[in-house]
């Protein structure tokens, strides 16, 4: 079947099997391998992308067909004009990653989180990131990174 999905501002028109999962569509049909797959049960969050501006969704538990006509933002679309997004900068500054496998999903969940709660407490960050597993960092520094990004974004709301 034909699908037309705007990913990071670029329209992709592809012919796919209905069973094509959005995660594989992004990785294999669009060549955007930043979105990872770490489980088969919608548990780990490695695959999280943002749909229609502010909704974090697990791309492994959605068919590409369901995203037809929608806009998807992946980790590759975060940096603008060569400048890192404040979340990316913050994960780097705060050592919010080690192996990097969970990182794209963490960034995208955090992105949607900050759209809904621009100034979350540490507790709220921990709650909102609980759909994303990280095996390496122990989360301390991820929480710090999201806080830093929230502060940066609040100080300069133009850089979204």
């Amino acid at each position: 079947m034909k699908v037309s999905i705007k990913v990071n501002g670029v329209q992709y028109e592809k012919d796919v099997e209905p069973r094509t999962l959005l995660a594989y569509f992004l990785r294999e049909d669009c060549g955007l391998t930043g979105t990872h797959v770490g489980c088969d049960t919608s548990s780990c969050g490695c695959c999280v992308v943002v749909m229609d501006g502010d909704r974090a969704v697990k791309a492994c538990t959605m068919f590409a067909a369901q995203a037809d006509g929608h806009e998807i933002l992946t980790v590759e679309g975060l940096a603008q004009g060569g400048a890192l997004h404040p979340l990316q900068q913050a994960f780097w500054d705060q050592h919010g990653l080690q192996c990097g496998y969970c990182t794209p999903g963490m960034l995208m969940t955090s992105y949607a989180l900050l759209k809904h709660k621009p100034n979350p407490s540490d507790g709220e960050i921990r709650e909102e990131l609980a759909g994303n597993l990280c095996r390496c960092t122990g989360y301390n520094n991820i929480v710090k990174a999201v806080r830093q990004a929230a502060e940066t974004l609040q100080a300069a709301p133009a850089t979204k």
Binding site: G100, A130, N140
Partner: protein, 784 residues
């Protein structure tokens, strides 16, 4: 000459990681990101039975599935002489695809190659296998009876794999007999799995000249190259192993798995690249598990708490094949570290390993070969002894610690601990957590019937395998290596035989080299994982990178510096003996104004080297003279809910001593990560089998990885006791927190329940177990 004074030290600096820009932008390069023209996907057919005869395999329906290109079975591999794969420590071999029978649930039975992931899955589903179920042996104690022989293929007609022991049995037994106080406890360190977020996988590709390019999630790419050559008979020069970015390893990506061999065979047979990426279920059910040690721990002591003897007898469950990744001469790894941080006058440890109908493994999961099991045994045992003695566990530890002045300390079980200051580390921890205040609070809470616990663990680890006279894998000695090339403009490239999986080698290696050579770490490129370019090394696991490859690197850098000194002498127009390395540059002795920087020397090495050999590079292989012995003092504070059995870890402090710290930010991150895995092991993470041999934790809905919400906030601190034999004094840290923390958590829970008379609780400490322990203890109290 030079006035450049900008170069500052690079060691001990919390430098931001050089690898991060690619990861935060989705530009990492993991194995599943690779794609080649004509690439096929492989899917494996796996056994639903834990033990069964294979009466027949019918692939005809599978071959009809659109997109399926080929199917191979064990018979095909056996015919090609590829039926079996040697396990790493050389005591056993493992079936690639089942031959005649299956020995564990989810064992690999057939491989299907197809044009797409979907077609491969459809094909695997269509392969029909006829099984005749056989009696199942699901635990080592049943296995011990030898009523069902699991491995008739082996010469020895028994399920017993090996007996290993160390120490003086008779003396220890006597000392235990004679001891004034004595405790004995069975402890089971349950089976668990490293479960890195990126599953294992590979892409096998033969180029037009028939050379194999094998992209694989490997923590030890060189060992893979040798192993693949030994298994397939492909000459080693025709094999190129590339380990790209790895999404976490923790020991899981050390062994060579059957799927890899199948992918290579498929690529060779079909003449197209083959990708195989395991599913989470395949990861959890068939690749290297860890632990599964049933330990009987006995400690003897004088009435004043001085320990007199330690004895640990272990029954180990190794699963269907003995694929434990231990060094050849150490089938039970470094279990001899079980005397821990204490001066036992005598000790004895033994391990008996058995086959069962469970997945093979026994890998070093974020630990140096069975050190986690050993640390748990001793740290839990010391708390039980403290309870028996009615002594504060802190006091008991202080009393028996190896003292600072006793290092290098020869332990009764044969290790020589390099350095440490156990008393100091513990004092720092007690002070920082406010131990006295906590004790007071606990007493108040206990008076009100509330359950609060404080748990301590003061472990000693042994890492950095290891000296060649003792350690090898598949016969290959466990050295490591490094190569440095400095370019004319003062930047450089560094390669080692290690392989980062998140530890940040691209940063820390650059820091070591920059420190030794007075260069800018930002311009030192670190490349690992490519066997065509990197020098031979044994890889990254068992916290060995810093102790081995890191040491090799520092020494290689010093070699570069010696060569540079000659060129500096030429530039400074003095004799080599008149040149000294000071403040990160070469200067004429006593004449600081006359100096050259390494950058200037590098340029001269290619443009104006005088009589000296051109170029500026060095290679160093490093055979460590000893292991390193990081240690730490960990304290957990928990509150237990009587009604639900819920345990809340209110605080956790880790004070680590890992010797010289290369990058404190990275060290802290490693500690956070290791603690989180230790927390998971203590409270939720377990691979269970039912009595029929069915794996019950086959994906993340039941194999529980803690989220940000359950995970405690970690507090950390450090003491620094450098390793005397390591060139920069570093010891390695990646695994200490995982080794040391489980006992702290369990000790805290047991401490909370101790007023009720609870003395031990098995991991994982689930709410159900805690609740039942409370209920049973209360019932017992009611009776008495």
């Amino acid at each position: 000459m030079s006035t450049d004074t900008t170069i500052k030290g690079s060691l001990g600096v919390p430098m931001k990681r050089k690898e991060d820009p690619r990861f935060i932008q989705g530009k990492g390069n993991y194995v599943d990101d690779l794609s080649f023209p004509g690439m096929l996907y492989m899917a494996l057919v796996r056994s639903p039975y834990p033990h069964a005869e294979i009466a027949g395999i019918d692939i005809s329906e599978a071959m009809k599935v659109p997109g399926v290109v080929a199917v191979i079975t064990g018979k095909d591999l056996e015919a090609a002489g590829l039926g079996w794969l040697p396990t790493f420590h050389g005591l056993d071999k493992q079936m690639v695809l089942a031959i005649g029978k299956v020995l564990f649930q989810y064992q690999e039975v057939a491989a299907v190659f197809a044009e797409s992931r979907g077609a491969a899955a459809d094909g695997a589903e269509a392969v029909q296998v006829d099984y005749n179920p056989l009696p199942v042996v699901a635990d080592p104690f049943t296995s011990k009876k030898d009523e069902v022989l699991l491995r008739p293929d082996r010469e020895a007609k028994t399920n017993h794999i090996y007996h290993w022991e160390v120490g003086d049995r008779d003396r220890t037994d006597q000392a235990l007999q004679a001891s004034e106080k004595r405790i004995r406890q069975r402890m089971w360190f349950p089976r668990c799995h490293p479960a890195p977020l990126e599953p294992c996988g590979c892409v096998a590709q033969f180029d037009k000249m028939g050379r194999l390019h094998f992209h694989v999630t490997s923590q030890a790419p060189h060992v893979y190259r040798t192993a693949v050559s030994l298994v397939t008979g492909i000459p080693e020069d025709k094999i190129h192993v590339i380990s790209p970015d790895i999404g976490g390893g923790f020991g899981n990506k050390v062994p060579v798995y059957p799927g890899y061999v199948c992918a290579i065979v498929g690529a060779l047979k079909i003449g197209r690249p083959v990708k195989w990426i395991e599913s989470r279920t395949e990861n959890l059910t068939s690749t290297g598990f860890a632990r599964d040690y049933h330990m009987d721990v006995e400690i003897g002591a004088k009435a004043d708490g001085t320990v007199t003897a330690l004895k640990v007898s272990t029954t180990a469950d190794h699963g269907a094949f003995d694929a434990a990744a231990d060094p050849s001469k150490y089938p039970a790894g470094m279990f001899g570290i079980v005397t821990g941080s204490y001066t036992f006058p005598t000790a004895h440890a033994e391990v008996d390993a058995f086959f069962t109908n469970k997945a093979p493994g026994g890998i070093a999961y974020r630990c140096s070969f069975r050190v986690t099991e050993a640390s748990f045994a001793i740290e839990r045992g010391m708390d039980i002894l403290a309870d028996e003695l009615g002594m504060d566990p802190v006091e008991l530890r202080r009393k028996n610690f190896v003292k600072k002045e006793q290092f290098p300390f020869p332990s009764v079980l044969g290790f020589t601990y390099d350095s440490g200051d156990y008393h100091k580390t513990l004092e720092v921890a007690l002070e920082k957590i406010g131990y006295q205040a906590l004790l007071k609070e606990q007493a108040e809470k206990r008076a009100k019937g509330e359950l609060m616990g404080i748990g301590i663990s003061t472990f000693t680890e042994v890492v950095g395998a290891g000296p060649s006279k003792h350690f090898d894998i598949l016969g290959i000695k466990m050295f490591d290596s490094a190569e440095i090339r400095i370019h004319p403009t003062g930047s450089g490239i560094v390669r080692t035989g290690a392989k980062s999986q998140g530890q940040g080698h691209e940063t820390t290696w650059a820091q070591i080299v920059a420190e030794e050579l007075g260069l800018d770490p930002q311009n030192i490129l670190v490349e690992e994982g490519d066997t065509d370019t990197a020098p031979y090394g044994l890889g990254t696991y068992a916290s060995r990178s810093t102790p081995t490859a890191g040491a090799a690197l520092a020494m290689a850098a010093r070699r570069v510096r010696e060569r540079a000194r000659k060129i500096a002498a030429h530039l400074l127009e003095v004799g080599e003996g008149d040149v000294e390395w000071k403040d990160y540059k070469f200067q004429v002795k006593g004449v600081p104004a006359k100096s050259v920087t390494m950058k200037e020397v590098a340029f001269a090495a290619y443009t104006n080297m005088g009589q000296n050999e051109p170029g500026l590079e060095a290679t160093q292989y490093y055979d460590p003279p000893n292991m390193t012995f990081p240690h730490g003092a960990y304290i957990a504070v928990v509150d237990v809910d009587r009604d639900t059995g819920e345990v809340k870890v209110r605080r956790f402090l880790a004070v680590d001593d890992c010797g010289t710290i290369i990058n404190p930010m990275i060290v802290e991150g490693q500690v956070h990560g290791g603690l989180t895995e230790g927390f998971a092991i203590a409270f939720m993470q377990e691979i269970q089998y039912d009595k029929d041999g069915n794996n019950l934790n086959t994906n993340f809905t039941d194999y529980l990885v803690p989220t940000s919400l359950e995970t405690p906030h970690w507090e950390t601190a450090h003491t620094v006791t450098p390793s005397p034999h390591h060139p920069i004094g570093a010891k390695g840290v990646g695994e200490s927190p995982n080794v040391g923390s489980p006992a702290a958590f369990v000790n805290a829970v047991v401490d909370a329940l101790s007023p009720l008379g609870v003395r031990h609780i098995e991991m994982p400490v689930t709410r159900d177990k805690v609740w039942r322990a409370i209920r049973d203890a209360e019932a017992k109290k009611g009776q008495s």
